[in-house]
């Protein structure tokens, strides 16, 4: 086993990193789309739809992601077929991301002052027109920094999919550790790679946030 050089370790980890990146992207984009639906349900004028969305958000934010992964994995298996880990991982992460993004975005929509609703009502706009032309464009600006910030949570969340057997960076770390008996080095490198993925996103979120606060800048 001693034939693993530092570069072998790094190469193996980086190959697995691809899957962390792909799963993160899929979860973020898919979660964004479903999260949009959650948002509209959460702020809709129909009471039962609002409650349904609130229940969904509370359930997914109030339970461990790991449990959701297990439930997706074993829940899909109830349909009879053997479930590939990537499918359960993708499904669970999309649903989880959607709950958080939906809630973040709801906050942004509600941050738009009441006067904007009233002014657009008084001009005769209907609900969808108000949303499309007045409320969402303003909410979107506010939503960008926390949305980018949440992408960090998604990347970190993908680490848990190793537990249901999806082979990504964390899983590769365990496999390489078992082959090399160098946990300090290997997990150190794994942490470093995660840091390199996450830190730019964190920073970008902070910078965007500051920009938004400093300026009333459309320019």
């Amino acid at each position: 086993m001693g034939q693993f050089t530092f570069f072998d370790i790094l190469r193996n980890l980086l190959i697995a990193t691809q899957w962390t990146v792909i799963l993160s992207l899929v979860s973020f984009v898919g979660g964004g789309i479903v999260g949009g639906l959650v948002l509209f349900a959460r702020i809709s004028q129909s009471g039962w739809l609002r409650n349904l969305a609130r229940g969904y958000i509370e359930l997914l934010q109030g339970t461990p992601l790991l449990m959701q992964l297990f439930l997706a994995f074993f829940g899909l298996a109830l349909f009879g077929v053997a479930v590939p880990a990537w499918l359960a991982a993708g499904l669970a992460l999309i649903l989880w991301t959607a709950a958080f993004l939906g809630e973040i975005w709801r906050g942004c929509v509600e941050a738009v002052p009441r006067g904007q609703w009233e002014a657009s009502s008084s001009l005769g706009m209907g609900y969808l027109q108000q949303m499309r032309y007045v409320i969402l464009p303003q909410a979107l600006r506010v939503a960008i920094p926390p949305t980018v910030g949440f992408s960090v949570q998604v990347v970190k969340g993908t680490a848990l999919t190793s537990i249901i057997g999806f082979i990504e960076l964390t899983r590769a770390g365990t496999v390489v550790t078992n082959a090399t008996y160098q946990p300090f080095l290997v997990y150190g490198l794994v942490a470093l790679i995660y840091f390199c993925l996450c830190w730019p996103l964190s920073k970008a979120s902070q910078v965007l946030e500051r920009k938004l606060n400093v300026a009333h800048s459309h320019h």
């Binding site: 009502s121 008084s122 001009l123 005769g124 706009m125 464009p137 459309h218």
Partner: protein, 240 residues
């Protein structure tokens, strides 16, 4: 027939009855000032006429549109009356010109070219032709309020509701907004305004409504209401 017919309108917020049966008829071309202490229900009345608040009893009709529950009836009403707010409520993500164009395009489906032409005309009418491309946060409060007026006018309303439109302005900016309102009056626009500008009310209004505790306490031409208040409440309010 009156342009705006407000008949026995009642409105409560929870236990608190804010409007206790309001009757006012407004003729075309009339300018009505609504005065009264805060909490007298004057802003609520205005918001009811625009359908921003639902009414519990009574009726409000503008032209032939009735204030009825339901989105369609509300929009029919709102197309007939424009509203100007204390806090301007311009859309901050749109330029002044776009603010004026938006509802023409999405509500009335006016083609863009035409909407832009109307927007330029309306901004010129309020003396802000050169601010077409400015964003709201680049404008003074007075300028923002004039854009808001242009935005409402672009929908060609039969009447304008003004809810304390100068209250949020620095004193030196009040007159430019009032000047625009005066011009609208001269052009024959029907106006209902909640205001604290007593001098302005006396100079331009055809009638003054004094509201007190959710009722129309006194109503009449300004020379009567201001010079000859009949009730102690109005006398106290006017400080005479």
């Amino acid at each position: 027939m009156s342009l705006i017919a407000i008949t026995d309108v009642r409105k409560s917020f929870g236990q608190n009855e804010v409007l206790k049966g309001i009757d006012i008829d407004v003729e075309r071309g009339e300018v009505i000032a609504i005065i009264g202490k805060s909490g007298s229900g004057k802003s609520t009345l205005l918001r009811c006429i625009n359908g921003l608040e639902t009414i519990d009893a009574g009726s409000i009709a503008v032209g032939r549109a009735q204030l009825l529950p339901g989105e369609a009836a509300l929009r029919a009403l709102r197309l007939k009356v424009g509203m100007i707010f204390q806090q301007f409520n311009l859309f901050p993500h749109l330029t002044a010109g776009r603010n004026v164009m938006l509802s023409q395009m999405v509500v009335k489906k006016t083609p863009k070219v035409q909407a832009e032409a109307v927007a330029r005309k309306m901004l010129e009418r309020v003396g802000l032709a050169e601010k077409f491309d400015a964003y709201p946060d680049e404008l003074s409060g007075g300028q923002q309020q004039r854009v808001a007026i242009a935005r409402a006018l672009a929908m060609e309303p039969m009447a304008l509701l003004c809810d304390e439109i100068t209250s949020a302005l620095d004193p030196e900016l009040v007159s430019e907004v009032l000047a625009v309102v005066k011009e609208l009056v001269a052009e024959g626009m029907t106006l209902l305004m909640v205001t604290h500008e007593m001098r302005f009310a006396r100079d331009v209004c055809s009638r003054v409504v004094f509201m007190h505790q959710g009722r129309v306490h006194e109503i009449g031409p300004p020379e009567h209401v201001f010079a000859n208040p009949k009730t102690p409440e109005l006398r106290q309010f006017l400080g005479v």
